[in-house]
């Protein structure tokens, strides 16, 4: 499994391959619900655990990430947006698109500025769409990471306004 992520220096704009990289280091450790949380370091815990133990989790040293199931009601995202540094949204299959809307809500409705990570059955052909709704990093389930990176350049024009582009094409470009 490879991790692709937005470069720290990249501007928030419609995705281009140059804005992303294959990560060789990743400080985040995903903690299962029955495992104990280490005292330091960056950890990702489940939403259930976050809700049960949020005080302790926020008091520890190291940054906090939360795994959010894709059928989570959007209202439950509000507290996360202010306390988590990373939110991981899961794709049980790549045909299940609920996490796209959760990402939009996180960005536009709850103003989340941290990292949104796509996990689960993530494939190359959906990366650009994921980036456009607000994802920054992608755990690629399989396939070549280099080719996946190149796929951000498949399309160089987009009609819609999305999380990374507040204006639709017709407000950005002179059109006939």
């Amino acid at each position: 499994m490879a991790l692709i992520r937005r470069r720290a220096s990249a501007p928030r704009r419609e995705p281009r391959a140059a804005d992303f990289e294959i990560a060789s280091d990743d400080s985040w450790l995903s903690i299962a619900d029955d495992a104990s949380v280490p005292a330091t370091g960056d950890v990702i815990v489940s939403l259930a655990r976050f809700m049960a133990e949020s005080e302790a989790l926020l008091a520890r040293e190291g940054r906090l990430g939360v795994r959010v199931p894709n059928d989570t009601l959007p209202e439950l995202l509000a507290p996360l947006a202010t306390s988590a540094t990373l939110i991981a949204l899961d794709f049980p299959t790549h045909r299940d698109g609920r996490a796209y809307s959760l990402a939009r809500w996180l960005r536009s409705r709850f103003g989340f500025r941290g990292e949104i990570r796509a996990t689960g059955k993530v494939v190359r052909d959906q990366l650009a769409n994921l980036a456009r709704v607000g994802f920054d990093s992608f755990e690629l389930a399989r396939g070549s990471a280099e080719l996946a990176l190149a796929s951000f350049d498949d399309f160089t024009v987009h009609y819609q306004a999305t999380s990374d582009q507040p204006l639709p094409l017709w407000k950005r470009a002179a059109r006939a």
Binding site: G97, V133, F155, V157, A161
Partner: protein
């Protein structure tokens, strides 16, 4: 009509290029069929019983002569010389080879066409009134809004993997010719008392195994809010639509299970949050920009313009019948709307040969400002024909078997491809259409049967829209044999209704007879020529039809277990 600018062009070119690499990955074996499937489905490429099928998008059914010629050429070069128009105003190729599909997409891109989102669980081709822009009863031309929605939904990143497919239809008339009541979103664009343009919004209609007539959730949505409201509906559906059961995944089930008031509340709440987003509010400038593409043709009017009523047809009964059945009044004096039936005796409903396509392109150039429209009843329309030129046009249409005078009549049958092509089918549709048509053709010529719609689907997916045919035929499977259910009373217009099953199903050799009995019963019951089949059915109900079709004691006439 809408002409692409550099941005639109770049998108279809880049799409063709992307699909070429996806096909190459499939052919090299890098992608398994299972992995390739969702990719090809986002691009209208299905696998049918015998071959691939490519569905080409025809946004709101509108084609230029250049595009029609290109389609003719594509069917000649890469297929078997014919295509099939669908009930969603698209064109299907039944025999393309996988390795040719990227080149077909390049060819389509060269005439501002594509196959984007003609399948898959995304927003599909937006459909509309085939008479948009020329109908006398039109309040507002719906096509600019269709085009705005087309661009908004094309590769919308958030809505590429909805629970299920999503179909939007827009009409601009009270008389609904776009069947908006049976779409996921149905829009009627109109002007309010203050002269402002806006939409009635219907959500959650559909066909398939659970046919539903869409409830109206907004009486007047100002035009500037079109995208925000659409986005709110799509987002609520994407989040809450069922994904546990394929048959319950359409938005109609969500609306039904949530209840209309609660569903409406959720949508309105989301809409309120995003309604003022700069990315969604439609500006008068943008609406005007797109509307300019649909400006009326440069009609010629002379003092002595003939009218349809005043047309002297002389002794030409063939032309008279054609005019009566296929020609409609136009909003501009001296012009008429001419419908071309694709329901002749020779081809399956909606099928068209490359020679016919070329002929239509030429006739569109000569007689109708180089445009033609596909209807959701699988016919074509030349929207702007001079009344003075009708006879000449008719003569040329007749040379190509395109002058069948039956539009809106019972032999103008809508049928899906059925078991001859489709791997989901329970039964054949095309031979049943041929049987029914050949039984009723003479009757139709002898007696004016008035408007009757007859729709055939080869399975409960209802691609032939049988639920909303005045007569509907549904292919079902009974212990491995093809059977057909007959429904009566369906209606796709502004008085929309879902047809009701008349009784037990019929074997393949019985169904045409049952249809004929139904039609003869109507003839016997109508009080005048003006009382349509639907009016009679609504007046008398199913009983007289049941008695005629099954006999007075239905149980004793059973031939096979129902």
């Amino acid at each position: 009509m809408y002409r692409y600018d550099e941005h639109d062009r770049r998108i279809v070119v880049e799409r063709a290029r992307q699909f070429r690499t996806q096909v190459a990955r499939r052919i090299s074996g890098e992608l398994t069929e299972e992995e390739f499937r969702p990719l090809r489905l986002q691009n209208g490429l299905y696998i049918q019983l015998h071959a691939y099928m490519l569905r080409i998008a025809i946004p709101y059914g509108l084609l230029s002569a250049t595009q029609i010629r290109k389609l003719a050429d594509i069917t000649r070069k890469y297929d078997r010389g014919y295509g099939h128009f669908t009930t969603r105003q698209n064109l299907q190729l039944n025999w393309p080879r996988l390795e040719d599909v990227p080149t077909i997409l390049d060819e389509l891109a060269s005439v501002e066409m594509h196959a984007i989102q003609t399948s898959g669980n995304c927003v599909r081709n937006v459909t509309s009134d085939p008479f948009a822009g020329v109908a006398r009863d039109e309040d507002v031309d719906p096509r600019p809004y269709c085009e705005i929605l087309r661009q908004y939904s094309t590769f919308h990143p958030e809505f590429a993997t909805l629970p299920r497919k999503f179909k939007i239809a827009v009409t601009g008339s009270k008389n609904d010719r776009a069947a908006i009541a049976v779409h996921d979103i149905g829009l009627r664009v109109l002007k309010n008392d203050a002269g402002e343009i806006g939409f009635e919004v219907y959500v959650g209609g559909g066909q398939g195994r659970t046919p539903m007539i869409a409830p109206r959730i907004r009486a007047f949505l100002p035009e500037r809010d079109l995208l925000a409201y659409t986005e709110a509906i799509l987002r609520i559906y994407n989040q809450l639509g069922r994904r546990d059961n394929l048959y319950k995944a359409r938005i109609k089930i969500l609306v039904h299970e949530t209840g209309v008031p609660e569903f409406t509340r959720l949508v309105e709440e989301e809409f309120a949050r995003i309604a003022s987003d700069e990315g969604l509010v439609l500006t008068p400038d943008e609406i005007a920009r797109v509307t300019r593409h649909f400006e009326p043709a440069s009609y010629e009017t002379t003092p002595a313009t003939p009218t349809l009523e005043g047309l002297t047809l002389g002794k030409d009964r063939t032309l008279a019948r054609f005019v009566e059945a296929n020609v409609l009044p136009h909003r501009v004096a001296g012009y008429a709307i001419v419908q071309i039936s694709l329901k002749s005796e020779r081809l399956p409903p909606g099928d068209v040969t490359h020679v016919q396509l070329d002929a239509v392109a030429d006739l569109a150039d000569r007689f109708s400002f180089g445009r033609a429209v596909v209807t959701h009843r699988q016919n074509l329309v030349l929207t702007d024909v001079k009344i003075a030129a009708l006879a000449a046009l008719h003569a040329d249409l007749a040379k190509h078997d395109l002058a069948t005078p039956n539009v809106g009549r019972v032999t103008d049958i809508v049928a899906c491809p059925g078991l001859d092509y489709c791997d989901l089918a329970n039964a054949r549709s095309i031979p049943v259409a041929a049987d029914v048509a050949s039984r009723l053709r003479t009757l139709e010529q002898e007696q004016d049967l008035g408007p009757i719609t007859l729709n055939i689907s080869g399975c409960i997916n209802a691609c032939g829209h049988h639920h909303v045919g005045n007569l509907g035929i549904l292919g079902i499977d009974k212990l491995g044999e093809e059977f057909y259910q007959l429904t009566l009373g369906g209606d796709h217009t502004e008085t929309a209704a879902v047809g009701k099953i008349l009784g037990r199903a019929f074997a393949a050799d019985e169904i045409a007879g049952a249809v004929e009995k139904t039609v003869r019963t109507y003839l016997a019951l109508r009080t005048s020529r003006d009382e349509t089949f639907l009016a009679v059915y609504r007046r008398v109900g199913p009983t007289p039809f049941k008695e005629a079709v099954y006999g007075a004691h239905p149980a004793s006439s059973q031939r096979t277990a129902a």
